[in-house]
Symmetry: C3
Subunit: 395 residues, 3 copies
């Protein structure tokens, strides 16, 4: 592990992450993203080399999960712990945080000795990211008024628009699989809708993927049945990135056609934009009957596309019949987690351990976001720890 | 931040907090209280100066919350973490801790490697503080029998009688707002009942306030509608303190009259003593119908005093029309958290950030209680850390 | 506390615990068990002497509790904290971990930065230990594939077969009560069924006791009413150990007769093997009615043996009428936790604090299992910490 080369590369980046929240990858510069990837890699290498990257002697990392989570919860806990922070869960079941006033208050009440707040809020379209910005605003106010000794950084652990810790883990995985970010230029990645027996899965993963991969010169193929489109603004953002980077973004309504010559495939279910718009409206009005009808209708519609399953047949269409399969996990695996789902069991099994490797980058991506938020010159702090740091384990 | 002056002041106090539980402020001497305030201030300054006050390399701080809590839970977690302890929640849902025998056993079972137990138990009149003393007795027994290597200290995080971490945070806030504790002498503070659409709020905050502020020479005005009295013994205790300190305690049944020339106001709802007595009896007998009737009757009675709202009109009656508004939060704010409540939105907004500052002292008050319990000479330990301590964050 | 003698003894043991899971005591050699006991004793002495045995600067200890627990949960948290690990609970309520595929995946997803996984799974006969081995296999696979940077060790916190952290705590307690392990040779210990108004208690404690105590030359008397037998294979294992160690295993169907001249008694309820077999079958088939009938029948059968209570009368039959009473807690104490139960209140009270001492070894046994798993030469690491280690508390 060449720490010197990596910290040197990092110190030459013009990133602007210091004391900034991490809410959407498309608000960040390319150098910002490169810095996150590089710090994540260095932290991973340090741990592997038994060098502790602990920079906090005390401090809290607060987690606010407004939706179930195992993977991201453990990733956040691991990242916080790696840097020396204790995790404190904010259980909202008894708070009235939905209310504007209370968001403002609660944000401060949980932050007196906190350094980071990780938020997952991906259920309501138009709500998750907005909520994060309300918290952000409240923290600014509290910090400026002297209520908070430090301004805790916010890490988006998935919202209605983006899932940056996932997409950056995915990108770091690709970097390792293909050797470098440069090697990704011109590679074809297919972000494809896939059939699932459930409905209402957020759009944040496919949106995060197309808006990120288009920035690195990749040929991004977004495939879905007619009617399963994503938030239009995000697609436009991705399109603009593709133009800038010399990559491309193409929308395709045939899974088979999309898979042709793909280097990488990411078959995953999501609920279409227009359904999410209706669902959010019905949820706001607490229209239980309307919601039941929408679900029925959506599932019926999904069923029409149950052949959007990634199987051996599709795989054969990809480059050398062996495209790298990716998934944010858990996948709906046909015959294992459900009768028929996103991916055929045999194909999944072939790439199963690779998907674990993919997931394994997330703790380091989150830790990197924290690290970059906290230190003006992260390369310098890392260098010092590598030279004079203590062991993670042992005496 | 003049650490020298503060630690010097601290070392001259004759406090007796070493290895003592903190259950009620009125069991503590004035020097005890001054020591807590001073240690809290020093710990806050240290953290601000990036000096870590971590004195534990390992150890648990157990939290037992028998009632919902966000603020106090985070304050306890923050305090424990600041000193180096990990928080372990004791979830009673599956224990039978109501039983005398089991309290004794559980107290020991959760304490083998624990240094502190924070307890919130404020629902039943006559129960909360009693329960803490049962735990205290059990810990003494276990420690004396060699079961426990150290005797964990107990911190009262709110009981039926007192809310010492709140009242001391409030006092520290006043010290900072008025410049010193001496400056509080002769100041008029109004602890006033205020209307709320809910019922059954504990009396521990108003009791804690009157029994504490009377000790510092303040003119304490306790205002409530006829029938909304507090536990008589606590009022007597406060009265005796007022005489000793050269302050006063006056009971007033007109909110308007009470507010006249006030320097500080603390309008907050509580359930009257006689209602709490009945409620506790009904709860013990599991008399669901009786409880429903009592609630109905109590709410109807409350409604007769819905004009006990702290508004612009009341504020104008205070000194220079600008008394410092205090609240333990969350407040029932008219038009925001409820249709009509304890305080007018405009008045609350004016002091909103000040109430956040007020709340922000609580983690340090709790940490100070732990610190003073653990070290015979806290000033000395603090001095050593200030001179030779490590950074809280950084490498 | 003679650290030198203890670490010397430890370093001469031929144990094979390095990077091994701890699932069943009967899979471990005598030297393995001696090493666990010795490390536990040393860690306990170190803490008492305010020497911190913290060997981790960061890392997670994951707890998976598939059954309620207070004691073991706190013991696991204490052990992890003592060594420097943060506890992260794996709440399975929302995972589908029952499924083979998902166990494999989840095991890896929670382990990216984890050092230990503690598992309690004692409800279904034939399931708990099997589940642990599935997790174990998944971790091996993940580690070998480079998914996991270290292979987390598994600690069995109670399964359907054994409760090793309990039985080893019990043994360490006996070592302290009788002065040495050698002093236990020839001592009579009665592991006796006792009446309880509940049904379905696991067999892991009695099985753990007979399979462990037979290895140290003790005269083990297993007493239960006809029909309340344990898993046959475990009884055979214990019998073989007794022969090897020069001890004995005798089965007795009279409580009174069993108690004669006993040095140690362990009266505790359990559900008989044949009932557990039926129950597991009914649970698998979700046969609610069958389960209700089985419970009714089992409770009726239990009631026939309500005189299997350890009372003053039984105690008089033991050696000098004063055998050491043991229990894993909580006990069903007649007149206190239930009308009629495992033990008479007076007898329990006499030994109550001793049962607390017994329980107090568990955190150190768990920490010792972690320590021995992590270091090839634990004696050496301990020596270094004793000589040059830092204080647990203080500055």
């Amino acid at each position: 592990m060449d720490f010197g080369q990596k910290t040197e590369f990092l110190s030459n980046l013009k990133s602007d992450l210091y004391q900034k929240d991490f809410l959407l990858t498309w608000e960040k510069s390319n150098d910002d993203l490169l810095a996150i990837l590089e710090i994540a890699d260095i932290l991973k290498d340090m741990r592997q080399a038994n060098i502790s990257p602990r920079v906090y002697d005390s401090g809290l990392a607060v987690s606010v999960f407004r939706d179930n989570s195992t993977r991201t919860r453990f990733s956040f806990a691991s990242a916080a712990n790696l840097l020396g922070l204790a995790v404190q869960d904010m259980d909202e079941q008894k708070s009235q945080i939905a209310h504007g006033e209370t968001v403002r208050e609660t944000a401060n009440m949980i932050s007196f000795l906190s350094d980071f707040i990780g938020i997952r809020d991906d259920i309501f379209l138009g709500e998750g990211n907005k909520y994060m910005r309300e918290v952000s605003f409240a923290l600014d106010e509290g910090f400026n008024a002297g209520v908070l000794p430090v301004r805790p950084g916010i890490v988006n652990l998935q919202c209605d628009q983006d899932h940056p810790t996932q997409s950056l883990s995915d990108l770091l995985h690709l970097k390792h699989e293909f050797g470098s970010l440069e090697a990704l230029k011109g590679k074809k990645i297919v972000m494809s809708w896939a059939y699932s027996p459930s409905y209402g899965k957020p759009m944040s993963v496919p949106q995060g993927i197309i808006a990120l991969m288009t920035r690195f010169g990749m040929q991004v193929e977004l495939a879905y049945p007619e009617g399963y489109s994503l938030i239009p603004e995000v697609v436009e953002t991705a399109r603009a990135f593709a133009i800038q980077s010399g990559g491309s973004l193409n929308i395709n309504h045939s899974m088979d056609d999309a898979m042709k010559d793909a280097d990488i495939v990411y078959p995953k279910s999501w609920a279409p934009y227009h359904i999410m718009v209706q669902r959010t409206e019905l949820l706001k009005n607490k229209d239980t009957q309307g919601l039941a009808e929408l679900e029925k209708q959506a599932l019926e519609n999904n069923a029409r596309f149950s052949n959007w399953e990634y199987t051996d047949k599709q795989e054969k269409l990809t480059k050398h019949g062996n495209a790298l399969y990716m998934h944010c996990l858990p996948a709906d695996i046909s015959g294992i987690s459900c009768a028929k789902g996103e991916v055929e069991a045999g194909v999944f099994e072939k790439f199963r351990l690779k998907t674990y490797l993919e997931a394994g980058f997330k703790p380091y991506i989150i830790a990197a976001m924290m690290f970059a938020n906290k230190f003006k010159d992260p390369a310098d702090v890392l260098k010092n720890m590598i030279t004079g740091g203590s062991k993670r384990v042992g005496f």
